[in-house]
């Protein structure tokens, strides 16, 4: 469960100081699917960095699973990311010339508690959950299509069994059809009980989530439930 309380993020100092986030507060329950929406410059990237524990707020508190993570050091944040957060990026960011399976296992490499055998089992499970068939395991990441690559990235985000999956414009580099496949994958994961946070600037994408938080100039301008999340017409996840 996520609790954001009065978060402010200021870049720079004095006259050139710029407030990217102004006194933002909201809660996200486990199992929700939330879209954080806003045009560029609205502060949605800054919010994503804070939610993803890549950055800390200037003031305010961020409670993740009952723990205040707003004042942690770099290495402590790295540990939180390793345990509680799965990232999906617009640019996919898979390791080149590396097999699909090794790409998916990568987050587990940084968790000393997980042995080599368990890694493989969990990576295979994650690939299955992301809707990619096992035959792709041994493919190199650069041999796949865009939609397949993004599903490998989703599997990588799932593999550490995170509290939430944070997807930053996950369809931004995909054609419509691949994009819909990826969105359908997220909806399926959400039905399985995963918390999904989707960052996007397109309302059409945001409407696939159960709740939309809209940002403008660093402030929340809308926080509404979409009663009927848009269905993917011919989804084949």
């Amino acid at each position: 469960m996520i609790g954001v309380r009065n978060i402010t993020k200021t870049y720079g100092e004095g006259a050139t100081a710029f407030q990217a986030l102004k006194n933002v507060s909201f809660d996200i329950q486990d199992g929700e699917s939330v879209a954080i929406m806003g045009p560029s410059g609205s502060g949605k990237s800054t919010l994503m960095h804070i939610l993803g524990c890549l950055d800390t707020p200037t003031s305010g508190t961020y409670i993740l699973d009952g723990k205040d993570v707003s004042t942690l050091s770099d290495d402590e944040l790295a540990k939180i990311r390793s345990e509680k957060i799965g990232f999906v990026f617009q640019m996919f960011n898979l390791l080149k010339r590396t097999t699909v399976l090794r790409n998916v296992m990568l987050p587990l490499v940084y968790d000393m508690n997980i042995g080599a055998e368990e890694r493989e089992v969990r990576a295979q499970g994650a690939l299955e959950a992301a809707g990619l068939s096992r035959e792709f395991e041994t493919h190199l990441s650069n041999e796949l299509s865009g939609g397949q690559i993004q599903r490998v990235a989703i599997a990588r985000a799932l593999v550490n069994d995170p509290t939430m999956i944070l997807a930053d414009e996950p369809t931004g580099n995909l054609d419509t059809k691949s994009g819909e496949t990826v969105l359908a994958t997220f909806q399926k994961l959400n039905r399985d009980g995963r918390t999904i946070i989707l960052i996007t600037h397109e309302r059409g994408i945001a409407e696939h989530a159960g709740r939309i938080i809209s940002l403008r100039d660093g402030e929340i301008v809308e926080d509404s439930k979409t009663h009927t999340p848009r269905k993917i017409p011919h989804a084949h996840a």
């Binding site: 890549l54 790295a78 990026f89 960011n93 990568l106």
Partner: protein, 414 residues
């Protein structure tokens, strides 16, 4: 991050840039192999000089005729050793009057053309007294050395060094002189000498060879070869190394008195202590080794800078990957370890190949016969330690730079 993962990641990363990795490794290979090869050559030269000097005999002092100068000190120097001031009487006087002496041997040395059964060679003919083999550690391989009575009776007998014997009578496949030489005759300066022995090899290479020599009785040499009563050197063996300095000054005093010279600086002879020769030779070869090592060290430094250059390029190229790794949970130490491991792997591979190449060069030099080189274990461990150290030192800065990258900036990096 586990060690196994680290090795796997490193191997993948180095394979991804094969050409660049190979060239960087080559820099280290050149550095390490030149350290190994040059240091082994330096050490080889040092031990060759040392063993040559030591094989002259132990606790040895040598009196040689000094530079003779005309009155006023402005005369022409006849050159050390070229002067004629030492006689057999001087040698006898030393043996009789100086304490703590084990033996004295006189020597008349010259180069002559030697003829034997149609072959001929030009070599050193050393007229020596019968006590010479004991003082100079000379072993007889075949036959015998001449005795005092053969010397006194001006016998025309000769003992051949193995190289001279081989040159005159031929060698076996392994380079040793053929058998059956004893009893044959050679002609020195047209006079026939009967061969009564062949000495065992003493070693020494190039200019230091002590095997290309023919020994004849000193009095025979004076009568038939040099034609005068002078000696080219007197060898004195001291009882032990402690008394050498005392003997050196006693001999100097005695000879000054015998030659009626009041001023020691005007002495017409010089007394050289073997330990002094050894010390000055070691200091020269030691300096040589340091010089060679320093030159090789510079190339190793350049190789190390190559590592740093490659690692900095790699970190820049892989900024996005670093950002991703940090985003999915890599700590600073994980990133630092990964890039440090790559740098150390480059130098370790370079080190191993460099040691092999350096040993091969050293072996090649050995085969060429110029210097007898040995690759010491200490040189290998040092070189390997230096190469691993180079990796850590030159890899640390790029690795730290990678570790300190901000994940947000790194992910955005294009």
């Amino acid at each position: 991050m586990r060690t196994l993962d680290l090795i796997q990641e490193t191997a993948t990363a180095l394979r991804a840039n094969r050409v660049r990795s190979s060239l960087t490794i080559l820099g280290i290979v050149i550095g390490i192999s030149s350290v190994i090869a040059l240091v082994s050559i330096g050490q080889g030269a040092a031990s060759s000089v040392q063993s040559s000097i030591e094989s002259l005999g132990s606790n040895l002092l040598q009196v040689t005729p000094g530079a003779q100068r005309g009155p006023g000190g402005f005369g022409v120097s006849a050159g050390r050793g070229g002067a004629r001031t030492l006689t057999q009487d001087d040698a006898d006087a030393i043996a009789k009057n100086v304490q703590n002496i084990v033996g004295v041997a006189s020597e008349v040395s010259g180069r002559y053309q030697i003829v034997a059964k149609g072959t001929n060679t030009n070599t050193t003919v050393d007229g020596v007294s019968a006590g010479y083999p004991d003082i100079r550690n000379l072993q007889i391989a075949d036959g015998s050395f001449f005795n005092d009575s053969q010397n006194a009776s001006l016998a025309k007998v000769a003992v051949l060094g193995p190289t001279a014997a081989g040159d005159l009578f031929g060698t076996n496949d392994d380079g040793t002189p053929v058998g059956g030489i004893v009893g044959q005759t050679i002609r020195i300066k047209g006079l026939e000498f009967r061969i009564i022995g062949v000495t065992a090899p003493k070693g020494g290479t190039g200019f230091f060879s002590q095997d290309d020599i023919i020994y004849v009785p000193v009095m025979s040499a004076q009568r038939f070869l040099s034609g005068n009563q002078y000696l080219t050197s007197i060898d004195i063996q001291a009882a032990d190394s402690v008394v050498m300095t005392q003997i050196q000054s006693d001999v100097t005093d005695l000879l000054l008195a015998r030659h009626h010279i009041g001023d020691p600086t005007a002495a017409d002879f010089s007394v050289i202590n073997q330990a002094d020769i050894l010390a000055s030779a070691s200091s020269v070869t030691g300096t040589l080794t340091i010089l060679l090592g320093a030159i090789a060290g510079i190339s190793l430094l350049v190789g190390g800078i190559g590592i740093m250059n490659m690692m900095l390029t790699t970190v820049t190229e892989r900024t996005k990957e670093i950002g991703l790794r940090k985003a999915i949970g890599a700590k600073k130490a994980d990133i630092r370890a990964q890039f440090l491991a790559e740098a150390v792997a480059l130098t370790a591979i370079g080190g191993i190949v460099g040691i092999a190449l350096g040993a091969a060069i050293s072996y090649g030099v050995n085969l060429s016969g110029l210097v007898k080189t040995t690759v010491s274990f200490s040189a290998i461990t040092l070189a390997f330690g230096v190469s691993a150290g180079t990796g850590i030192v030159f890899g640390y800065y790029p690795a730290r730079r990678a570790a300190n990258l901000n994940p947000i900036d790194a992910l955005r990096y294009e």
